[in-house]
């Protein structure tokens, strides 16, 4: 035993061991081709070392030559293995260079076996023994180098170029450690081996070939690399396991969240089949996860929606696009509910398409409401058009007016396009513009409703009367943002009003005369009081004089009283005249309470005659209203006298008339006259306010008609009803505080 044998044997053995290990690795995982290549190379290196040993032990030049020839087989294997290793492991190196290396090397191997004794030597004539690590080994003593050996050298040169090229590529790619370790060691050890081989063969030095040592170094480096890879793989596997575990956890979390979500959630895999439904979904459909899985969910979709639903789903799925669709889905109670389903593609952590996920909400109420809204809007539009009602909305911020089409057409506005306040005001009659502007400003500034009447001058020059009502909309901060309202054509009404006005004045006169007749008792009483005072005073005066006991001061006072009583009687007469004469309406501030009190006093004598109580119930905080006092007095007188007449069949103790005033809200005052008579028969109630309609034997049928015309000329309304407690009737009229339309 000596060192050379020991070292070379051990080297071979180590190589074989590594080869075996990596072969097993490859055996377990056939994709690990790198390990197989390494294994083959390691075997080749072992063979190389064995042949080197054979060279050193050669006794004859023939033996030596044969050993050298066979040496080229493992070299070829090593070179080819290296090329493949670089390609596989470093994933670099030019393909043509690789083929060139393998080609030239193969050529050299062929030449090696053609030429004798081998490609290195033309002939080996003598061997000599030299001492090497304390052992005598054979080296070539005399031999002629074979020029064909250059082919083999060329292949090594090409290998070097190939490896350098690959190493640079790997270096540039950023894997510098790999480039240094693998590329660098291949270069170092192959070049070292080649240089040694050349120098020995060409006889520059005389020593045995030890290239196997370099190749063994290469094997060690490569084995290390591959071992690192194995370690890395193991680490990766552990990480993978860990990440898979965490993925499992996050999936669980997802399920909890999905089940708690207030929406229906489904998930589908890449094959379009559903893989998951959350609890709300299952509760909604009342079916189990197993029933819904795959395409099971489609059973619950309304048959007439199913085709459309599947088409949208499939198309979106194939295009990986999000989709939203509505369909009817059967609920657990059998009712089909409208569902809005929104699906999006989902991707895993590696950005790989993983299927779809979708969420659904029950939108039945919304859809119903939407439909209702559309319907009611349509109905409203039709109704508005039918009664020639214009609906409009004015956006204060943008100064933009929206109006129904019929209204736009009326004003000559284009059917579309922006219209502002200026467009509107320019259509208003010039005399009404300021008033309208003020009314609108007032509404906006005081946050109240807008209500006015005005004239429009239409594009063809025709003037139409309009009545409009608008309500102000405030935003969350209480700032007015919109004015919304309706406008109606009241031209016909205005004309009728004008025509009836004269008629009404005429009738008003007649009725005043008639009322005076009915008030004869009252008038008499009003006159009799001062007359009684006058006659008493005058008689007293006469008696004083007759008695001859005249106190002049007393007489003076007495005459003064007579004078004032005379004036008082004169006032009564004048009041009567004003009732009778055709006076033009005279609007002024009127306190309704005073008016009622006066009328109550005026009718008192009538009340006494008819054994009837007249009571007043007055609201003490009544604002003054703008009205014609004489006309209103007439209204009240008429109503009260009617009340008396209605109680002719009532027992005297029960005869009572109650006149009440009260604020009615909305800036109006309600005045009512209630009697305890027979009430209003149902069949006459509707005709009550008609002209020439009467239930009285001597009636003209004018009273209530005139009463109504007066009330309406004050912008008010009048109505009659039977009292709640079933006894008697109540007439009430409501007047606006700010007066009616000017006459």
């Amino acid at each position: 035993m000596n060192w050379v044998t020991v070292i070379w044997s051990m080297g071979s053995g180590a190589c074989l061991t590594l080869a075996l290990i990596h072969f097993v690795v490859w055996w377990k995982d056939r994709t690990a081709r790198t390990n197989l290549v390494f294994s083959v190379m390691a075997i080749a290196v072992a063979a190389f070392a064995a042949l080197e040993l054979a060279m050193m032990r050669a006794q004859t030049p023939e033996q030596f030559g044969i050993a050298v020839r066979w040496l080229h087989v493992p070299v070829w294997v090593i070179v080819v293995s290296l090329v493949i290793f670089v390609r596989l492991y470093l994933n670099a190196g030019r393909r043509w260079l690789a083929w060139a290396v393998v080609g030239v090397r193969t050529l050299s191997l062929i030449l090696n076996f053609i030429l004798s004794p081998n490609i290195n030597y033309r002939e080996i004539t003598a061997l000599r023994h030299v001492s090497f690590f304390g052992e005598s080994v054979s080296v070539v003593a005399r031999g002629a180098p074979n020029p064909w050996m250059l082919v083999a050298q060329l292949s090594l040169l090409l290998l070097v170029i190939f490896v350098v090229d690959a190493t640079i590529a790997v270096w540039r790619r950023g894997d510098r450690r790999q480039a240094l370790m693998v590329g660098g060691s291949i270069l170092l050890f192959t070049m070292a081996g080649a240089v040694e081989g050349i120098t020995i063969t060409w006889g520059f030095i005389s020593m045995p070939l030890t290239a196997s040592l370099f190749y063994q170094g290469l094997v060690v480096v490569m084995a290390c690399e591959l071992s690192f890879d194995l370690l890395r793989a193991a680490a990766l596997a552990r990480q993978l396991q860990a990440s898979e575990a965490s993925m499992g956890e996050s999936e669980e979390r997802f399920r909890i969240v999905a089940n708690a979500a207030p929406v229906l959630i489904w998930m589908a895999g890449v094959d379009k089949l559903c893989t998951f439904f959350n609890k709300p979904w299952l509760e909604f459909t009342g079916r189990s996860m197993e029933q819904e899985m795959g395409n099971g969910w489609a059973d619950g979709v309304h048959p007439s929606d199913l085709q459309r639903c599947l088409r949208i789903y499939t198309e979106a799925f194939d295009a990986r696009q999000s989709f939203v669709m509505q369909y009817r889905l059967r609920r657990h109670d059998g009712e089909y509910r409208w569902i809005s389903d929104q699906g999006v593609a989902r991707y895993d952590t590696h950005e790989n398409f993983a299927g779809y996920i979708g969420s659904c909400v029950d939108v039945t109420e919304l859809i119903n409401k939407d439909a209702e809204l559309r319907e009611s809007e349509e109905r409203m539009r039709l109704a508005a058009d039918a009664v020639n009602l214009g609906i409009w909305e004015w956006d204060l911020d943008k100064d933009e007016i929206w109006a129904t089409n019929s209204r736009r057409a009326l004003l000559g506005w284009p059917t579309s396009g922006k219209v502002g306040f200026e467009d509107f005001i320019s259509c208003v009659h010039p005399d009404d513009r300021n008033r309208i502007q003020e009314a609108i400003d007032d509404a906006i500034n005081k946050h109240k409703d807008y209500d006015s009447e005005y004239r429009l001058v239409l594009p063809d020059g025709v003037v139409r009367w309009m009545a409009t009502r608008g309500s102000l909309h405030l935003n969350a901060n209480g700032r007015p943002t919109r004015l919304l309202g309706v406008t109606i054509d009241i031209t016909a009404r205005k004309q009728a009003e004008l025509e009836t006005k004269q008629q009404r004045d005429e009738l008003g006169h007649l009725s005043r005369v008639a009322a005076m007749g009915e008030l004869a008792a009252s008038i008499a009483h009003e006159l009799n009081q001062p007359l009684a005072g006058i006659t008493s005073n005058a008689s007293a005066g006469q008696r004083f004089i007759d008695r001859g006991d005249v106190d002049l001061r007393e007489l003076h006072d007495l005459l003064g009283d007579i004078v004032s009583d005379g004036r008082r009687a004169g006032d009564v007469i004048r009041g009567l005249q004003s009732m009778v004469k055709k006076a033009a309406p005279n609007r002024q501030q009127v306190n309704l309470n005073e008016l009622v009190t006066n009328v109550a006093r005026m009718v008192n004598p009538n009340a006494v005659l008819q054994s009837c109580n007249v009571e007043t119930l007055l609201d003490p905080n009544l604002p003054a209203i703008e009205a014609d006092p004489i006309q209103l007095q007439q209204v009240l007188l008429n109503l009260v006298i009617n009340a008396f007449d209605a109680m002719s069949d009532t027992l005297a103790p029960n005869r009572k008339v109650v006149i009440a005033t009260e604020r009615n809200g909305h800036g109006t005052i309600r005045t009512s006259v209630r009697d305890y008579g027979t009430g209003i028969p149902e069949e006459t109630r509707e005709r009550l306010f008609e002209q020439f309609f009467t239930t009285k034997a001597k009636g003209l049928g004018m009273g209530l008609a005139i009463v109504r015309s007066i009330v309406e000329s004050h912008g008010g309304t009048i109505a009659a009803e039977n009292a709640d407690d079933g006894v008697g009737a109540r007439f009430h009229f409501i007047l606006p505080v700010n007066g009616g339309p000017p006459e």
Binding site: H525, S536, A540, V608
Partner: protein
């Protein structure tokens, strides 16, 4: 003729009427007091002489008719003359039935009113006289013991002492004593005088005794 200590009350809500009528009454020598409403009048304490009231029928609050009723209920002796701005026959009849002196329409003639006032005051005075006599008679009757009263009741029906004793189940002698004592207490000397006294007192006799005759 104006009865002594007489007073005229005027109740009318109209100031002109109050002033004029007050003056008229004064010119005729009557003392008068005027009130705007019946309730004002009722606050005044009752006058202790002949009294006449001129009352407007229609007034706010208590009206003339109500006042009349109230006075009757309190057995007051004021005599009422109604005045009104309008003559109403049914009301007039009602007032007269309830004892009003008269019912005048405004404007009235001065002597018409003054005559009414005079008549009313005289009637009031008479009424007062009658009341005074009745009260006097009643006081005397109250002096009798129950037995004497019983005997007296039977005496005025014209029974003899003997009959009375039979009626009451007692001795004739006893009846005679009671009768004498009663006559003495009532200060009468004859049965005729006794009957007049009982009439003045306005007492109706118990029915029971008559039926037992």
């Amino acid at each position: 003729m104006i009865p002594p200590n007489s007073l005229v009350f005027l109740i009318d809500d109209d100031a002109s009427v109050r002033k004029g009528v007050s003056r008229l009454l004064r010119s005729a020598g009557y003392k008068s007091e005027a009130f705007e409403s019946a309730s004002d009048f009722l606050k005044r304490e009752q006058h202790v002489g002949p009294a006449c009231m001129i009352v407007d029928v229609r007034m706010p609050g208590i009206d003339g008719m109500d006042l009349q009723e109230a006075l009757i209920q309190h057995r007051r002796q004021e005599q009422l003359v109604f005045i009104t701005g309008h003559g109403d026959i049914s009301m007039c009849a009602h007032a007269m039935k309830a004892g009003a002196v008269d019912f005048l329409s405004k404007p009235f003639r001065d002597d018409e009113l003054l005559q009414c006032v005079e008549r009313a005051l005289l009637r009031s005075a008479e009424e007062r006289q009658r009341t005074a006599e009745r009260n006097n008679a009643r006081e005397l009757l109250n002096l009798l013991t129950p037995r004497e009263f019983e005997v007296m009741q039977l005496v005025i029906t014209g029974m003899l002492n003997k009959q009375i004793a039979g009626e009451l189940g007692t001795a004739e002698k006893t009846v005679k004593v009671h009768r004498g004592r009663a006559m003495q207490k009532l200060r009468v000397t004859s049965v005729a005088e006794l009957v007049r006294l009982v009439e003045k007192a306005g007492i109706t006799l118990a029915e029971g005794h008559k039926t037992k005759v």
